[in-house]
Amino acid sequence: MVKLLKAVNNTIGGTPIGAAAEDKRTSTRSKQAILRKALRAALRVINVVGLLALVLIFAMPFIWMLSTSLKTLPETMIFPPEWIPRNPVWQNYADAWNTGPFLNYFVNSVVIAVGILILQMLTIIPASYAFARYKFKGSNFLFGIVMVTLMIPAQLIFLPVYLELSAFKLLNTHLGLILPFASSAFGIFLLRQAFMQISDELLEAARLDQAAEWKIIVKIMVPMVKPVLVTFALFSFIAHWNDYFWPLVMTTNETARTLPLGIAKIREVEGVATWNVLMAGNLILVAPILVVFFLSQRQIIKAFVYNGVK
């Protein structure tokens, strides 16, 4: 169909309706063509310049961060600012690291983000499979709970959850920071869609092959939704690695605090004005994520844009 339209288009383009009139103006035509070419070239230049400017708006703050992190304190107080530090001060990074128990923060961040991820995988796979593939009484009601959870941002109910965790004596523990996120409504929603799209024939074929139900799930169904699982895992890990709010609210001392809290604390420890140390600390937090992002950009963008397009 498209081909046909294109063919029609070509024939129309070949003999334009005003063809006879245009033939009379062949002399002005070449001038016009040159003009048009120039205009197109100009547009192309504007386009490229615009794109570069756009990149700059997003890259400059990061470059500025790197530059500041290598300056001496007096150098940060020069205006107009200088982009390249005279003598790179690597000491800033050590200073930033030594403002608090950073190794501890780092371990906490890893334990919490990985812990959440593992528990989420263990809870969302069976749940989404059951919602997608089994008919059972009350499934609509139970899925309603999932949908309500999906719609309610965790940020909204931190106060009662805080009281709850404090009653369970889980404040300032890894478990307290992991447990509320041990399952993910978003994950169940995504994965359920994926499971529903698998054709019934495949399950029937497996049943005729005498495969037990658990074997069908583990050997056939889960491998088929692997791309969705990877997508979700990236999404979940980055979200919890970056989280500031929840660890801030649910901890009162250093034992379970994570990197973002540690970095934010540099400001309180060092005072407002030491931007060089602050930016060094900030870079420690940002660099790994940015490196991972530029290595697997496509996959990560897909993971985040996924929930917008479904």
Binding site: V2, G50, P61, W64, T123, Y134, L159, R267, N282, Q297
Partner: protein
Amino acid sequence: MTVWEKLRPYGMVAPAIIIFSLFFIYPIFYMIYLSMFDWNFVSPTKTFVGIQNFKDLLTEPDFRQVLSNTTIYTLLTVTLTTGIALLLALWLNRKSFFHGFVQGAIFSPHIISLVSISLLWSWLMDPEYGLLNWVIGLAGFGKLEWLSHPSTSLISLVMVAVWKGLGYNALVFIAGLQSIPSDIYEAASLDRSKPWTTFTKLILPMLSPTIFFLVIINMIGSFQVFETIAIMTQGGPINSTNTLVYYIYEYGFRFFKIGYASAAGVILLVIVGILTMIYFKLLSNRVHYR
């Protein structure tokens, strides 16, 4: 069907449902319950006050300021982010290495911790030595106070939010644009449709589900803004950037007025609830053209 086969689905959904009930569903009711009490978190007794907390909230000038701050912040952030992102998407929707790179660059703030972004922009917006003052100086403007002055503080926070959200929004739009079958454009060009007509009559209506999705997601996100405020302004100067979640946080964790903070939480819950309802209502009314 054996007993095991009947019970299996319940066993499979149980862990997830237990977590949700414990940490999402139950807390909602608990918060509504708490909103009707006067309690300071330490004292063993809670005093029932009915809807007094809500009355107090709505007559408190500070809270009105908070509500208006949150609304202004949300409206500005959502319109600017969604609008600019749509323009960017139309511009960047091309498949070349360079365009891919630009897309990646504008997306990058989305995966970075809000802590980093807040600290970075605090420094960029430093009134004395900040880079932003230098940039607007190049354009011939005088120094601005940015976050340190009540007249510019809220709009500065909006700027940061737009900077962070733009890439994500633009990429969702691009995905939406790419899901429109290309033969529609071809048919339109055969019908000699002008680019503007094609945009308003075809592209925009077909993008409407994406637009609604982004507007609602951005709204829900903006209503609960916390990190940037906690790190960059602490609600100041003179309460000019205090918003709902930060207000709840302060009353709960600084002043220990649990009932009062819960009441504010219930109000936020109602707002987010209404927004979500509108979203699903619009979805079911088929703003789609698919």
